[in-house]
């Protein structure tokens, strides 16, 4: 049941006439999902650094006054 449908990597990439369509869809999928993953992780770490900076600022204020 499990057998490779393509003889070579080149054939896999070409996918007869439809390579550009198939690969652009999967490329787009990877881009969107990857982008979203990056975005949420970045937002998380960004939130942490912002909170840290906020506290540093508050600490600074308190020591001044």
């Amino acid at each position: 049941m499990i057998e490779w449908q393509f003889e070579s990597l080149a054939a896999l990439i070409a996918m007869a006439p439809h390579g550009p369509f198939v690969w652009s869809v999967y490329g787009l999928g990877a881009l969107v999902l990857g982008g979203l993953t990056w975005h949420v992780r970045h937002a998380h770490s960004h939130a942490i650094t912002r909170i840290q900076r906020q506290f540093e600022r508050e600490g600074g204020h308190e020591s001044e006054t």
Binding site: M1, I2, E3, W4, Q5, F6, L12, M15, A16, P17, H18, G19, F21, V22, S24, V25, Y26, L28, G29, V32, L33, L36, T37, H39, V40, R41, A43, H44, H46, A47, I48, R50, I51, Q52, Q54, F55, E56, G59
Partner: protein, 247 residues
């Protein structure tokens, strides 16, 4: 018992800590399932005798289309929870679900459009399913746009919740009317409905990918929610301890 469960879900801290584990699980499951399903779908599943290799787009298109709709439903439920119980976490969930859902919706539209070119010879037709997907994208966009335009974050959440609920009530009506509209005009008979019986080696990877994308969506939603929770609770003691700010 039920109340404690409810109470826990209302607690951002409890959620933040738990969701960390769920997120990890969902992430790994997604990676494994998507790797297996996609490789299988792209390279192992047999070629379709009618469409040729272009049908391999199905392994992304269909799961993503399912999710775009499922995530809207989840968002509407979150909206109802927010309006009825004023649970802050529901607001966070709505915000995350809207963004992830919109991304999936765009992906469904884009993959469908690209698939349309080799099969129908055109990127876009006003087919019922396509049209209601487009409108779903607009509904998502409306919710995201409203939130980003509102000045006060608390107000924004509830306004979006009202909009999401009104949209959810309307969604079945929209779907029904679009289908009726489409049959009324009898356009070029390009429909996605009739599917030939697939061999197992074709639908198994599809099933795997559907599960994989569900896991991926869960991962994205949890990760996004955790970031938002952290930001919203930035003044709470537990966040203070968590980020290790010298106090």
């Amino acid at each position: 018992m039920a109340w404690r469960w409810f109470h826990q879900w209302g607690s951002p801290r409890w959620f933040y800590e738990r969701a960390s584990r769920w997120q990890a699980w969902a992430g790994w499951i997604a990676v494994i399932l998507l790797a297996v399903g996609t490789v299988w779908g792209l390279a192992i599943a047999p070629v379709d005798y009618q469409q040729g290799h272009s049908y391999r787009i199905i392994y992304l298109h269909v799961p993503v289309s399912f999710l775009a709709q499922a995530l809207y439903l989840a968002m509407a439920i979150a909206a109802a929870v927010l309006l009825v119980w004023r649970m802050k976490l529901a607001d966070v969930a709505m915000q995350s679900l809207a963004i992830v859902g919109f991304a999936f919706c765009v992906l469904a539209l884009a993959s469908g459009a690209i698939w349309g070119k080799p099969t129908w010879g055109t990127y876009w037709v006003w087919d019922a399913r396509l049209t209601s997907m487009l409108i779903l994208a607009f509904l998502y966009l409306g919710i995201i746009g409203l939130r980003s335009a509102m000045l006060d974050p608390n107000t924004a959440g509830k306004a979006c919740a009202i909009l999401a609920l009104v949209g959810a009530i309307n969604l079945p009506i929209i779907k029904y009317s679009v289908e009726w509209w489409n049959t009324l005009h009898q356009p070029a008979s390009l429909t996605l409905t009739e599917k030939p019986a697939m061999p197992a080696s074709m639908w198994v990877p599809l099933l795997i990918n559907i599960c994989g994308y569900y896991a991926a969506a869960a991962y994205l939603v949890f990760a996004s929610m955790r970031g938002l929770v952290l930001h919203r609770e930035r003044r709470a003691q537990w966040v203070r301890e968590l980020v290790g700010a010298h106090d």
